[in-house]
Symmetry: C2
Subunit: 332 residues, 2 copies
């Protein structure tokens, strides 16, 4: 079932380059010739070879997406949005899963099989962005900044969003406020933590270290954090989890421990992922229009591919509080 443009050419009675031109809709092909070629191609079930075209054009219409495990609903959601945006622009997505062990090397991304890369898991000190940059490989950072590398980025107002949470909790009257932070190696994690701490400090309510923990991001870690924090004698009345996945885990653990949310414990998240609005969670959180963020990231990347020399852009998407059912004033 081998099929090349030569076969089509023979059947249509033209030369191979003419087949290439006709099938691509190149101008300067006689309408009648084009017809013949298209008919021949259809008859043979011919499909242009991706490899042949790629080698000749030095382009692949493929984008690498580096994400965490898709069992993390945050990543499932943004990969879905990125793939959709890229597909609409005629690009296919190659999925690279960063399972934390630095297994995604630059070699895999820079073997000429990709026109560009979306990085969604980069830390401040990650090597990939710098390496891609050095190779002139187009890439964009999704909600992340990296030290010392000029790059395009679409990021959330992480600092401001976290500050909104702090102000809100104080306003509700909470005094014993706890927090579950994610790793501080990412700019998102760092900024959310800083925003929260600074806003609390500004209200004269500095965060107690004993009501604070830092864990890898996962549903399970969110759950175990609650168990740990709630075993103190001085229990928090409100808990800020720096992202929704941790918050959902916290809600789950609270349920298992027989605590009522929000009567016994206020839980707040960040991201407003799909699950947050489900009735069983009804999570009060910080929304940042992830769909728009993905669209912006895709757009930045495609612009970079089209114009490798252009100025770099860093777009910040604003945040807002979404009040649902997981918050309340502290129990009296």
């Amino acid at each position: 079932v081998a099929m090349t443009s030569f076969d089509v050419a023979r059947l249509a009675g033209v030369s191979q380059p003419t087949v290439s031109r006709a099938l691509r809709g190149d101008s300067g092909v006689a309408p009648e010739t084009r017809m013949r070629v298209e008919r021949a191609a259809a008859e043979l079930g011919y499909v242009t070879s991706h490899l042949g075209r790629g080698l000749a054009t030095r382009t692949t219409r493929r984008i690498g997406i580096v994400a965490a495990e898709l069992t993390d609903p945050f990543y499932a959601q943004i990969v879905e949005r990125l793939q959709s945006e890229l597909e609409q622009a005629g690009y296919r997505s190659v999925l690279f899963v960063d399972r934390g062990d630095d297994a995604v090397t630059v070699h895999e991304l820079a073997d000429g099989s990709l026109d560009g890369v979306v990085l969604t898991t980069s830390c401040l000190d990650s090597a990939a962005p710098g390496a891609l940059s050095a190779r002139r490989m187009p890439f964009v950072l999704f909600n992340g900044d990296v030290d010392g590398v000029l790059s395009d980025a679409a990021v959330v107002d992480n600092f401001g969003g976290a500050a909104l949470v702090a102000d809100f909790l104080v306003q509700l009257g909470h005094d014993r406020i706890g927090a579950v932070f994610g790793p501080d190696c990412t700019s998102a994690g760092r900024d959310r933590e800083r925003g929260f701490r600074q806003a609390l400090a500004a209200k004269g309510r500095p965060l107690s270290p004993r009501l604070t923990t830092r864990v890898p991001i996962s549903f399970e870690q969110g759950a175990t954090s609650v168990q740990a924090l709630m075993s103190h004698e001085e229990q928090a009345t409100a808990l800020f989890c720096t992202n929704d996945v941790l918050a959902l885990g916290a809600l789950d653990a609270a349920t298992r421990l027989g605590m009522r949310v929000p009567e016994d414990l206020t839980v707040m998240g960040f991201d407003d992922i799909n699950l947050a609005s489900w009735a069983r969670f009804d999570l009060t959180t910080v929304s940042c229009d992830l769909a728009r963020l993905a669209a912006l990231a895709a757009e930045l990347l495609l612009k970079r591919i089209a114009d490798p020399q252009g100025y770099h852009h860093r777009i910040v998407v604003p945040t807002e509080l979404v009040l649902r059912g997981s918050h309340a004033p502290p129990p009296s």
Copy 2:
């Protein structure tokens, strides 16, 4: 930053084919030569071109995964598992999202950029499997059969699993049993429905049409189904949703309607996705080891790629009931 094996060859003082051989670990290369080549390659930051290699070997080490939207946690989970299995075997995954509009055409899959395809969304009458088969393109069906096409497939015992649910509900004492079925165009949907109906009929409890509905598969559809079914005067006391995503939607709607699960309503699902075990859902469901199913599908596909002429295999994975907290005897 263009870099070819010729550049490496020149720096190492050898011919281009020698570079190819040395870097691939081909036998018959002098250790000292190999050293020189490797050093030169490292110095230049050379990476073998995927397109060049692909064109020469007629192989790409890439697999297409056709799945539904990743916001469906079932698909997020299986794509994650498939990607992981394929990655371990040295293959990368290209993600194709079937958004229901038949947008994934065979042309996209058969342009020579993929060594094989995993189909997870095929209906009984889908065109893709037959077309891939005609083109001798390796593919495997994930939990699905297709009419009239010889193919490899890893499927769940859908019929048996659904029968387990029927027997269990009857045993619990339920009399007014309802069901939310998915589309009957897939073999999984069809078999689950048949298994459930036949097992109920065998117990002398045929399914009442008024307590039955058929909807596309999504969280939202599961929710609206409950609203519809529960507005009858004759309310069901137990509801079988033919997959967990529908069941989670049902739970969500039940919560919104102020119904208690399982006191007022028993809800059962099928698949045992990750979310089913979260405390906030605690869904009683049918488990079928999705991780194993994904591993089997990947294995079948890789075997097919290695031996295109081999016999086709259809592997059926058994099911078992997982009793959690969403079931109870009917309210008296």
